[in-house]
Subunit: 453 residues, 2 copies
């Protein structure tokens, strides 16, 4: 339903933008949700995007659309619109949103823009812009609701009436040093008698996250404890910001996309509307591991060519043995990577998991090795020189077991090793490891074969 | 930080469970968050899990732990504990939680359990249990907060004080027929003058979802519109439930895991603690496409063996050509699948996207085809019969372009075709398509090669 409605919206906007019908564009904008506008922007050409964006009124709505767009698109719009419009837009934004704009523009333009904000707002946004956008600091809002432990429920509610923040889920209780000592849910507050002090209804074991924490860990905490907001601290308990659940949803989707793209060796960013050149430039380097694995494969096959040419079934089995080993390795690396990403695997148990995967790989290799051996016995009887038939069949079966066990071991061990070295383990589920497995499987196969012949 | 704290918790619980120290277990349970208990349960043996679970008090906490555990684990616990305990637990649960328990047990046990609930509670839970757990109906809570359009802000707040629901984000406004006509945020309600009627502060274009909608579409709506809760309707506007953001976070993580597992051809469910037999049984069938592709590869190589044996460089290039084509195909299928899953691709533009991918595939094929041709010219000079060197090099280059274009076309076209046929397109990013690409790439390569020789 939402999809087809958006298709109509996209078609209409495209038509109106082509005929430069500003009145029509404005009428459509007025009726549309900012999230939908941000969404359909993607089906417009670059020129149309800027033309439509310039018509969005009120400016509050334009700022919302800008923040809802995918980063590549909003950066392009920010680049294309003039300083005056951008300055009017950032006045409408929350400090963390201003910070995200500041991260994408150069120093001279920054200064120009910030001059339109109050000194306080400008320095708040600049301070936030320093944090890595992939950390808790890069996600947090500096606007949160604090009270001290002796505030009563009715005082807190009155203070709540006066405040101007977008979404409030919890009241954070701080002491005289600004240290986080408790949290009260809005629900408990509203239901308590008017003169209850917040310290009576607060939880004092507050789940919190350090400002430098990776956004993936922030997401894990929010998901595990079913939180609506997570306080961000510096030095353990100095409250400096809050990350809310709506941002976490975006993080979880972005991280999942990143993991999936890594696993296919397809780079990180991709948009259906990026130019051919961008697509080709960003995808080609990811194929490099496959290319070098191919080179190594060429070298191996050249080295063993004599055996291959003499015993044709050896040659004919190559795609089968490599394919199954690669698949078993991909299973292990993908499963272990996902367990790490979702916190289902502790470092303490990794050795056990790797051994477990080797065993599983060996069993799967045994199953398929047996089937392959039977197939050879059935179909290639005449091709194999009668005498060493049995030896050859056993050799193929063993090489299948060896290559799949090796593949499983490498697949299972790579993600934790990557994580420990500070590299995203999702890359381990990708071509870097799969192609290494390819080459090793080929090598083990050829080695086993040459030993048995 | 959270990780290492959980490791200590897991170690302590393991030790206490081994020594059957019930007092110790109960002390640890008292101090631990239900989400952490659910988490560390995974590092215990099956017997320890049940032993620790039985000690959890109050029963409200035990019910929470049960609901926070991963489905495979909670099902096992439900199976192992006796009817009395389970009956006491479901009394503590929300109706949608009871429904999720009912889905996992057989009819006689159901009846026994439901007899402990009031008639109303039992029939509510039974009605919910009917919905597919992967649909909006399977996620929704039947407890939501409704008012009519003429209720004043102060009346609504009073009603709020008396209600007993877990989390309330919005007030839904319904008319006399139970039709959803508006929504008011808790924030707007609290800030409005006491005698404001809700119809003055309500939004009347309420984003809603049909009860039969797939949970992935529910998640997309919540993510796009930054919602905290999404009303579920039947027949367009009859309000029957609400899905909240905390459940959506779990859905997004589960769906991402499912997509990633599909892409590696590793099945859907996997847990670091499942038995070897379970792992092997669930993973082996997923390797079937790779096996059959291997068979097809064997057939192709047997058919072309004469050419291969005569011109060894042909043979030696096989892993390279197949590897690059497979990788390009995997890039296309993964990218298109993810665009579909995150709603970045409309069906109307699919033809353009497929053509785009073919073009990108051809260019990448051309880049690597050129490199490969140069490599052959450098390293295999003596091996190729001098005269047809040029023809052979061109043949390899062309076959590289042909196989990567074909791979990209198949990779890009498969996900939308799967989606239209009602199959999860994530499967298209998996081995079914990659192995088809493998075989086709090999065939195109051998065909091109035999044409040029």
């Amino acid at each position: 339903m939402a999809r087809s409605a958006n298709q109509v919206l996209a078609l209409t906007l495209r038509k109106l933008a082509r005929s430069e019908n500003s009145d029509g564009i404005r009428r459509i904008i007025l009726k549309s949700h900012p999230a939908d506008l941000a969404h359909v922007m993607r089906s417009l050409t670059a020129t149309q995007q800027v033309r439509v964006f310039r018509e969005i009124r009120p400016l509050k709505k334009a700022a919302e659309v800008l923040m809802e767009m995918e980063p590549a698109l909003s950066e392009r719009i920010i680049e294309k619109i003039n300083d005056d419009l951008l300055a009017m837009l950032i006045v409408q934004m929350a400090p963390e949103e201003v910070a995200s704009v500041l991260r994408t523009i150069d120093a001279p333009r920054r200064e120009l823009l910030l001059s339109d904000l109050s000194f306080e707002e400008a320095s708040e946004a600049e301070a936030l812009a320093v944090y890595d956008p992939k950390s808790a600091g890069g996600l947090m809002s500096p606007n949160y609701f604090v009270v001290d432990a002796k505030t009563t429920a009715s005082e807190a509610i009155q203070k709540l009436h006066r405040n101007d923040y977008d979404i409030i889920f919890y009241l954070y209780v701080i002491n005289d040093h600004g240290h986080l000592v408790g949290v009260v849910s809005l629900r408990d507050l509203v239901r308590s008698p008017a003169n209850t002090e917040v310290k009576e209804i607060m939880y004092d074991e507050v789940v919190r996250v350090d400002v430098s924490a990776d956004r993936e860990d922030v997401a894990s905490l929010v998901a595990r404890y079913n939180l609506l907001a997570l306080p961000v601290t510096e030095g353990g308990n100095q409250l400096i910001g809050v990350v809310t659940v709506d941002d976490i949803i975006d993080v979880i989707r972005l991280e999942a996309t990143e993991d999936i793209m890594h696993a296919a060796g397809a780079g990180v960013e991709a948009s259906p509307n990026e130019s051919f050149l961008t697509s080709i430039r960003s995808r080609t380097p990811w194929i490099a591991p496959t290319f070098f694995a191919g080179l190594a494969g060429m070298a191996l096959l050249s080295y063993y060519q004599k055996q291959l040419v003499e015993v044709v079934p050896l040659l004919v089995l190559i795609p089968m043995i490599m394919g199954i080993a690669r698949h078993v390795g991909a299973q292990s690396s993908t499963i272990v990577t996902r367990w790490l990403a979702t916190g289902r695997l502790e470092f303490a148990t990794i050795r056990r998991v790797v051994l477990r995967e080797i065993f599983i790989g060996a069993i799967i290799g045994f199953v398929f090795g047996t089937v392959i051996t039977l197939l050879i016995t059935l179909f290639f009887q005449e091709l194999v020189f009668e005498n060493s038939m049995l030896v050859f069949a056993i050799g193929v079966g063993l090489s299948s077991i060896a290559s799949t066990s090796l593949a499983a071991a490498l697949g299972a061990a790579a993600p934790p090793i990557f994580e420990r070295s500070g590299i995203d383990p999702a890359i381990a589920a990708g071509p870097l490891v799969t192609t290494t497995i390819d080459v090793l499987a080929l090598w083990v196969y050829l080695l086993c074969a040459s030993l048995f012949l």
